[in-house]
Symmetry: C2
Subunit: 369 residues, 2 copies
């Protein structure tokens, strides 16, 4: 019992029902080539975070182009990606809720390339006992808090203690560390360099401490769109978890990243009450606002001022308008935050030269458990 949208490959983009998310295929392909080019020959692999694009098809596309695997934020996301044939998945959030340890170990059993982060000994024990019951070994990375002040072991010493516990526990194996400098990603260049430098210094110190104590760490994973270039230069990570680079948003653009805005929202003007005001059909259930307002790209002199649930309110400066803006006209908008905007939609429409080329389900939208 859902209404379905009329979207067919080959149809002109102008005929798409609105609001709708489109991906500029050329821009997306250039973004991927650009990221892979940045990493080429550095020994740092691309492990894109699929909490952003939430699409197995786009995950596979990145793997086919050279990504070493993917990250997922939630177990249900990883389950869907595994079902879709993605072989190498790192779960970057701890789990602890009802049923999650059973599901995690079940996924590890059917997907040898699955690995998960932990930051506490209780989770290690929960995972290990279930792994022993299934006679398997679950691969783990310890999450270190590299000053993001979210989850993760806060100190190198705490990380070492947890690493020793994992070594002494049957059913689990330590294969790496995970240190995501989330706080450093969406910042001006200078701040990114400083914050990421401090974060990676702590990660490096921790990696050295663990290696001194004979812990083999095949994977040192972290980083993102905002720090990938400096992570290559630092030489501490051997994987970067960038996700937003593929589709981009205005937050990352404004932070100075050179990837192209490939994701757009097409929306229609539904009301034009005064020369200074217009209303479009893309509100807060279409464009997320946690990263600020969306940006009107198609028309000069038009500003997205507020997204109520289902209306987008626009301020119009009639003296600046470079095109007409009438009821029924289409506008294009750039989302402020790609991750939370994509999560509001059920599909992407891939567009090239004004024509629909592909439709991809956003298969892990809403997969928060």
């Amino acid at each position: 019992m859902t209404a379905t949208r009329t979207i067919r490959p080959g149809m002109p983009v102008s005929e798409l029902e609105t609001p709708v998310l489109t991906i500029d295929m050329d821009a997306m392909e250039r973004n991927l080539a650009s990221m892979l080019g940045m990493l080429a020959g550095s020994g740092v692999g691309l492990r894109p975070h699929l909490k952003t694009a939430k699409s197995p098809a786009l995950a596979q596309r990145m793997i086919d182009a050279g990504a070493v695997g993917i990250c997922c934020a939630k177990l249900s996301e990883a389950e869907v990606m595994a079902d879709a044939g993605i072989a190498d998945i790192l779960l970057t959030s701890e789990v602890a809720g009802p049923g999650t340890f059973d599901r995690l170990v079940a996924l590890a059993q059917r997907l040898p390339g699955f690995k998960a982060v932990v930051d506490n000994h209780w989770a290690v024990a929960e995972i290990a006992s279930r792994a022993r019951a299934r006679d398997i070994i679950v691969n783990l990375l310890i999450e270190l808090d590299v000053h993001t002040h979210r989850s993760g072991q806060p100190t190198p010493e705490g990380t070492l203690a947890l690493a020793n516990i994992i070594r002494d526990t049957e059913g689990v194996r330590l294969i790496g560390v995970h240190g995501y400098a989330g706080h450093a990603q969406v910042r001006p260049l200078e701040d990114r360099q400083r914050l990421n430098g401090e974060a990676m210094a702590l990660l490096s110190e921790t990696v050295e401490l663990l290696r001194e104590h004979n812990h083999e760490l095949a994977i040192v994973s972290g980083g993102g769109t905002g720090t990938a270039e400096m992570d290559v230069a630092n030489g501490i990570l051997n994987e970067v978890q960038a996700g937003s680079f593929l589709l981009m948003d205005t937050l990352y653009r404004d932070a100075g990243l050179q990837f192209e805005n490939a994701l757009r929202c097409r929306s229609t003007i539904i009301s034009r009450p005064t020369p200074e005001r217009a209303v479009c059909d893309a509100g807060g259930k279409t464009l997320s606002s946690d990263g600020g307002k969306a940006e009107v790209e198609s028309h000069r002199g038009v500003r997205y001022t507020h997204g109520s649930d289902e209306h987008g309110s626009l301020a119009v400066d009639p003296t600046q308008l470079d095109r007409e803006l009438n009821i029924g006209d289409t506008i294009t908008l750039l989302p402020s935050h790609v991750c939370t905007t994509v999560n509001l939609h059920d599909q992407f429409v891939g567009v090239r030269n004004g024509v629909v080329e592909a439709v991809w389900p956003i298969a892990t939208r809403g997969h928060v458990w």
Copy 2:
């Protein structure tokens, strides 16, 4: 290709995978009884706005209890509600995008109780020509901007001019006016009274003007959770479009509304890095932030400080904690804004006495087109 959650009627709520939205059935039933009691005998009907609960099952429940019909914000929402057997639907947003006039008129043809708002003559012409082609008459309400400054005719005179156009146009019929004082809903009592008073005065003036010109207006629709009580007293509306009262959120609670918080999010602590910090599994893809932070209900001394994509960061005051807060513990949270939070999820779990009583698909989640 989606992961499915294990939710069975009869299971203890403590076994639900997290994060998950629950509805306190007793509280929801009391909220509905309370709203209907407030309207009883007043001549003002309840036409709940289903942009909030987004569930045909809950729509039907309200109709069975006495609601006169429902509102939908988007055409795709109305299509799903019609498929589910809801007979009386008012579409409260203008449409104008590719294909929407065809869909609107097709819906009107199969659902005699369908009606839609318009605020401009172009839309009237588009609807009317399609209605004539199908040999039907589409029922319309004119939307008046009652100082919300979003869509709607800005003046009584403009509304009259549009009413005259509708009267002169074959294929459409004017059956009412719609004036939603959205800006007055979520405010302290005094502001609600003042702003709604001004809004309803403008609506009343417009209704009188149209009636003076022999326009029959069977429906005068507007209002919401925040103004329902005063709308009864005003006697201008004959329908109120309240939606949030059923499930509630902290925005409306903080504005002084007496309905109960029936909607909760259950979430699990996944990390506990320091005595002053904890992380739960409900981030910004689980709890919307356009209405502010969610509120931790289950534990004293714990504050939800930030929702990143998939992590909820919590500040803990250990001296205030009234219960332990360990990894694996469940917390309950009250959403700040019910409409945008519900829109992130695929189902509600109805709970009574700690046991799952019902599971309802949030069938129109993501139906923005």
